[in-house]
């Protein structure tokens, strides 16, 4: 395994830190001042949270899927870096998915008149969250790092099957969850059509959240990798 030295924070990462902050501020400005209000049925001003909700939703899922892909790679070619990446991706994914669920709930209150409902899409989103929490618990219960990485990889792969299921659940069951993109029941409460300004805001939000997420991921991977190097040094000292 390569580098033994602690690498100083890369310049690119510092640049990314700055960029993500700027992008997030810009996105927030767009959400509140650039995008038009939606119709009252879609929540009026509360609808603005939709941009955060959708962005964190998709990126959260992408994070989980990439953790699973890293798991596959680890099983084929066991290198600690894939494991470090998987854990980092899962943690970021959990945070983003939680924001997704929370923002959804905040929007739901005025529109559906309830904080929560046992609707298929919400259920499967919860399941996804619980699955990857279980992933972290699994890792905590295993001492041997090699086995921990192996089991983690397998569970992440198994768990990521719930991600497409979340997406397909709208097709399989009737749902009251609004479908903004793609086909679905148009009578679902809260559905609205996106105007061009809204679409731009959404795309920009996606960009901002993605960059922010990648920055967080990089920081987390660095932290994990530092941990690995500490363990390696310990290994050498114990021989």
């Amino acid at each position: 395994m390569a580098s033994n030295s602690v690498q100083p924070k890369p310049r690119l990462l510092s640049a990314l830190d700055l960029t993500s902050v700027v992008l997030m501020l810009a996105a927030t400005w767009m959400v509140f001042f650039y995008a038009p209000s939606a119709q009252p049925e879609a929540g009026g001003e509360a609808q603005r949270i939709f941009y955060f909700h959708v962005s964190t939703g998709w990126i959260g899922m992408a994070a989980f899927i990439s953790a699973a892909v890293a798991g596959v790679v680890y099983l084929i070619r066991p290198n600690r870096k894939w494991d470090v990446f998987s854990v980092a991706a899962v943690e970021i994914g959990l945070v983003y998915s939680f924001i997704n669920i929370a923002t959804g709930s905040i929007w739901a209150r005025p529109v559906w008149n309830t904080w929560w409902t046992w609707d298929p899409r919400l259920v499967t989103a919860t399941v996804m969250q619980l699955t990857f929490l279980a992933y972290l618990l699994l890792r905590q219960s295993i001492e041997d790092p090699e086995r921990r990485a192996r089991f983690g990889a397998i569970y992440a792969i198994l768990g990521s099957l719930t991600v497409p299921l979340t997406y397909l659940s709208i097709r399989i069951w009737r749902t009251i969850h609004p479908v903004v993109i793609g086909s679905g029941d148009p009578s679902a409460q809260g559905t609205f059509d996106m105007t061009p300004l809204m679409l731009q805001t959404l795309l920009f939000s996606l960009l901002a959240f993605t960059v922010f997420g990648l920055t967080l991921l990089w920081h987390r991977v660095r932290l994990g990798w530092l941990g690995e190097q500490v363990e390696q040094l310990r290994l050498k000292a114990m021989r």
């Binding site: 219960s141 192996r150 198994l158 768990g159 719930t162």
Partner: protein
Amino acid sequence: MIEPYGAHSLAANMPRASAYLAVVGAIVRKDLAVEWRSRQLLASMLVFALLVILIFNFALELDAAARSELSAGVLWATFAFAGTLGLNRSMAMENDSRALDGLLLAPVDRSAIYFGKALANVSFMLLVALFTLPVYSILYNVDLFNAGLLLVLVLGAWGYSAIGTLLAAMAMQARSREVLLPVLLFPLLLPVLIAAVRASGFFLEGLALAYIWPSLNLLIVYAVTMPALGYMFFDFIVEE
């Protein structure tokens, strides 16, 4: 490329197809024989299942009309919990005196152990269901003799067992394994449980197949993909 021990090379395994099946069969027979001797597991699963049903009865205060609607849910919740008892015991028995090593020494692909265990587990689940269903039927005056329901039962139990056996093998090697297994199992199992409850309920209500099909489809998909995943991953889980 890292290959699991006894990897799935066709050339090595083709003439061994009968040896493979022999091992699977031997494991199923062995698990059933062990259970027959002590009858510990089946008795506990059965008593547990009946207790859970009783608890639901008082917790939900079901009247006659509500009962038939909720039967599917109550039954599947019961099976889900009772099932973990079976899974735990099934893997724990191999921990005693390292019997699992004995299985790992068999000159076949390790997935044979997985399928043997999974088949044994599903047999236990179905046996428990076989006793639980009539009892429920009598206690709550709900007719459960329904071909569709039985189909859902078999598919659901098989999906449960397929994923459960794999995770039990994982949990056995971790700390706090009895607590860990349900934590790992239920999130992955929930889609199957939801589909099983919906399909069972619809069959009991006598709805048209077109209505039931999406849930049934999901069950079938799980019943096929979970064993495939088990086949792929079991080696990685038991290797040292």
